[in-house]
């Protein structure tokens, strides 16, 4: 896999004229007034390292340095006898890795078990027994991430269990499918299975950058994903089991579908091989990456009438075409990095259709896509078995109907992306690995837009651009394909091929960030108004193997993490008068504990 990646260049976005600029300026609701999604929460109750963060402006020079990480090549060797990172450095590494990798809000489908140097040697021996490694297994790792993944299961997939059944026999077929999902881990529709793989690819790609940023450029990660994908995963089952034994994966976890998905060796690289980025830029970048994940950029929703005026403000902004080119370049970088194909092949394999209003016939195409998705939703609602829907007060059909709102497609650039199974096979790439690489490519491309959204960010703007990656429309289309004989969304753009659409990107150029309270559904009455964060804390998904025992990270003596990573950069949301959200800033983990070297 020696294909070189291309450097990604800065393409700054010009802010709109001063009179059109807007900031979110969210405030606390008045006493006695019901909190809305545009208000600040009374408090934030979370163990996640993210919190609600604001974006920090980066100069063009800083951004150019940061973009070096989007063409980061693999480490060639690790320095011998390097010092093991402190607990604090590991916390920051996983904060930028597993704890913030783009995930569907309510899918906590990954676990990360960290091994120390001696266990890393054992892991390296096992890795060398695997077929399909993307790169050489390296010696002298200070630590190793063993990342587990489980099938994609959320309330949405529970709803899917009831879809696509024939009226009379549904009582039996729903039960059978439910059991097969539980025991055999089958998916209702193929794209649900692909979601698990997309998430793995996104995380694997992010782990490489997380290591560099958290270590101040001293360390790099050698991440292996292919040996645990598709056909290789089957061939390597025996060796993978050894890794699972090393990390003490229980029989129950295996029954629930947890498997090794990715392994990342981390070690110190020689000074001459390090990425040239200043310490200040790395800290700023780390804080910004958390800010990018602290809110979602939702398409369409801030056009609603109840939104405050700032959200309704017209903002004349142009996204230069060069930005799209650079986002594409970063995406191709990721795809070739994870598949080993050359750039021209990657361009041929990644199927992309732009469908926004700025393209010729864009309005018609958008209308066509929306109408298709709505028709699938109507069929789903009509098809949900009444015996399941009535006892729950038609909650299933109501939830299905919510899809129509979720699939609002708005933005200055909207792309649908996917792959052709036959073309992937022809290129000699395992399909599962290709889907993972597609996830990596889409997230890396999106990162370009997000980074350019903070270059020379004026004080009176929250951001200049944001991006939303969506699988919802693809899943809806897949329901249509699987149960109602519909065609793939990409079929009309690629008539001679057999496309499988996988993701949507919607890019918005605007200066106001999306509402902070957009996870209204997470409000928990028992928490008295505090916003409950579903993003995991380190103790929930990260574990350290120490002295043969697996210990949750940052759960100790009755304490659980309350620290926000990169909090030294001080990018926390406040109201217009500078009042902070109680609980948002967090509290540093005890110094003695964070300075410990775990191994």
């Amino acid at each position: 896999m020696g294909v070189e990646q291309k450097i990604v260049d800065v393409v700054a976005i010009s802010p709109p004229p001063e009179e059109q600029r807007a900031k979110r300026s969210a405030a606390f609701p008045e006493d006695g007034v019901k909190k809305g999604r545009y208000d600040l929460p009374a408090a934030l109750d979370t163990t996640s390292p993210v919190g609600f963060r604001t974006r920090l402006t980066m100069t063009e020079k800083m951004a150019q340095q940061a973009l070096l990480l989007l063409s980061l090549e693999r480490p060639k060797a690790f320095v011998k006898d390097a010092v093991v990172p402190t607990e604090q450095a590991l916390f920051e590494e996983v904060s930028l890795g597993i704890l913030t990798a783009r995930q569907s809000t309510n899918y906590v489908g990954h676990r990360d078990i960290l091994l120390g140097p001696s266990d890393s040697r054992l892991a390296a021996e096992i890795l060398r027994q695997l077929e399909g490694n993307e790169a050489p297994v390296l010696d002298n790792a200070t630590h190793t991430h063993i990342v587990l993944s489980r099938p994609y299961r959320t309330p949405f997939t529970m709803l899917l269990t009831f879809i696509g059944h024939k009226p009379v026999v549904s009582l039996a077929t729903v039960a059978i499918r439910g059991l097969r999902k539980k025991i055999q881990h089958i998916d209702d529709i193929p794209t649900i299975g692909y979601l698990q793989q997309l998430h793995i690819g996104i995380l694997a790609d992010q782990m490489e950058r997380a290591t560099v940023i958290a270590s101040g450029g001293r360390q790099q990660a050698q991440v292996f994903m292919r040996p645990f994908s598709g056909a290789h995963a089957r061939t390597n089952q025996k060796a993978a089991r050894k890794l699972e034994e090393l990390i003490g994966l229980s029989a129950e976890d295996r029954v629930n579908g947890w498997r090794v998905a990715t392994v990342g060796q981390v070690g110190e690289v020689a000074a001459k091989d390090r990425v040239r980025i200043t310490a200040n830029t790395l800290r700023r970048l780390g804080a910004n990456l958390l800010a990018f994940r602290s809110e979602r950029i939702q398409p369409g929703v801030n056009q609603e009438e109840k939104a405050p005026p700032a959200y309704q403000t017209r903002q004349d902004m142009d996204v230069p075409d060069e930005l799209t080119v650079m986002a594409g370049r970063a995406g191709y970088n990721a795809f070739i990095h994870w598949t080993g194909v050359d750039r021209e092949v990657a361009k041929r394999l990644l199927l992309l259709e732009r469908i926004d209003v700025l393209t010729p016939n864009g309005k018609e195409r958008l209308r066509e896509v929306r109408s298709h998705l709505d028709s699938v939703t109507d069929k789903v609602i009509a098809n949900i078995p009444l015996w399941a829907d009535l006892p729950v007060g038609k909650a299933l059909s109501r939830n299905a109907a919510r899809g129509k709102k979720a699939f609002a497609l708005a933005g200055q650039r909207i792309y649908m992306g996917g792959l052709d199974q036959d073309a992937i096979k022809e290129a000699g790439i395992d399909w599962v690995q290709a889907v993972r690489a597609f996830g990596a490519a889409s997230a890396r491309g999106a990162l370009v837009a997000e980074l350019m959204g903070v270059v020379d960010l004026p004080d009176d703007c929250d951001l200049l651009a944001g991006i939303c990656l969506m699988a919802g429309p693809v899943n809806q289309n897949d329901i249509g394909k699987s149960f109602y004989g519909e065609k793939d969304l990409l079929q009309s753009a690629f008539p001679g091929q057999k496309p499988t659409s996988l993701l949507f990107w919607t890019l918005k150029a605007k200066t106001v960030a999306d509402p902070i309270g957009n996870e209204e559904q997470l409000m928990n009455a028992t928490r008295k108004g505090a916003l409950v964060d579903l993003r995991p804390g380190p103790h929930e998904v990260v574990f350290l193997r120490q002295n043969g025992k697996i210990q949750p990270m940052r759960k100790r003596e009755g304490r659980i993490n309350a620290e926000r990573a990169f909090s030294d950069m001080n990018n926390f949301v406040t109201d217009p008068y500078g009042v902070e959200i109680p609980g948002n800033r967090g509290s540093m983990w005890p110094e003695a504990w964070r300075n410990e070297r775990p191994w």
Binding site: F28, D31, A42, A43, L44, D45, T46, R527, K528, G529, A530, E557, G558, R559, A562, N570, Y577, G578, V579, E580, I581, P582, G583, N584, R585, G586, S587, M588, P590, E591, A592, W593
Partner: protein, 285 residues
């Protein structure tokens, strides 16, 4: 003067059986000599407070060590007020010198008299740890013997009590339902209002309430190295009880090793306690 600490048992028996009606507190005192730390007990305390075992004396640990001496003082016949119903309203700890965990201390606990307060009668339990004849740690525990409106004192807060300005720490923590029992097991303070909701109800509380000094210990643990090794005063003013279980917000602002902090409810409407960590040098100047 005695060389061994009394046990809570005898004090509790006297407290429960006493028929005190109130009166004027005179000067009374209890002493213990050569007090040492049992490391396993300290470890148990650190665990219940969520504190780091970093070789430093946790600022509120001496309070736990001599809890039984406090109990004996207020159970004495010459202390006129019934111990049940006394309310701990404020506390001031001064860590004057670093305290070697292997050291030994002579301890004095005394009450010098009482005073009229807005909500009843107040008196101070003054505790001093001395080493080589020098006071290294002292504490003023301000206790209220409530007047008429005992539990409902003070108007219920209604508005929001958010503060402008930045904090250096702002996080939530949980006071678990069993924390009163766990703290009691370490401190020996089995005041029933901290133990279980059903018992606390008998004393007029809707649920059990967190022991104030557990909360202070938990906050001291959270402040971690924001608290210096010595030469500081840790003050707390208890405002409203934390009912168990509860999630609360802790906010602190530390500048140049001096901290102002407070604990409030997650809806931002109830202030549970406020406090500070101030350098003794700044107090002198």
């Amino acid at each position: 003067m005695v060389n061994e600490l009394p046990t809570y048992g005898s004090a509790y028996a006297k407290i429960l059986l006493s028929r005190k009606k109130g009166g004027v507190v005179g000067k009374i005192e209890e002493r213990v000599q050569g007090l040492r730390i049992d490391r396993s007990h300290l470890r148990a305390f650190l665990k219940v407070a969520g504190a780091v075992d970093d070789g430093r004396m946790p600022p509120t640990y001496p309070h736990v060590l001599i809890g039984a001496l406090h109990a004996r003082l207020i159970s004495r016949d010459d202390f006129p007020h019934p111990a049940l119903g006394l309310v701990h309203v404020a506390n001031r700890i001064r860590v004057i010198e670093p305290m070697d965990l292997d050291g030994s201390w002579d301890v004095t606990v005394r009450i010098d008299g009482q005073r009229e307060a807005k909500k009843g009668i107040e008196f101070d339990l003054i505790t001093e740890f001395t080493s080589g004849g020098k006071v290294v740690w002292d504490q003023v525990t301000t206790v209220l013997r409530p007047g008429k409106d005992r539990l409902g004192s003070g108007s219920k807060p209604t508005g929001n009590i958010r503060e402008s300005g930045a904090h250096t720490r702002s996080s939530t923590f949980i006071a678990r339902e069993d924390i009163g029992r766990k703290y009691a097991a370490v401190s020996g303070d089995y005041n029933p209002i901290h133990l279980h909701a059903s018992v606390a109800k008998l004393f007029g509380f809707k649920r059990a309430i967190a022991t104030g000094m557990w909360t202070v210990a938990r906050i001291a643990a959270e402040l971690d190295t924001d608290i210096p090794d010595s030469g500081y005063a840790l003050d707390v003013s208890f405002k409203r009880p934390i009912f168990l279980p509860s999630r609360v917000v802790f906010e602190a602002n530390t500048q140049a090793k001096e901290t102002q902090w407070r604990v409030l409810s997650t809806n931002g409407k109830t202030l549970h306690m406020t406090g500070s960590v101030l350098s003794l040098d700044s107090e002198k100047s």
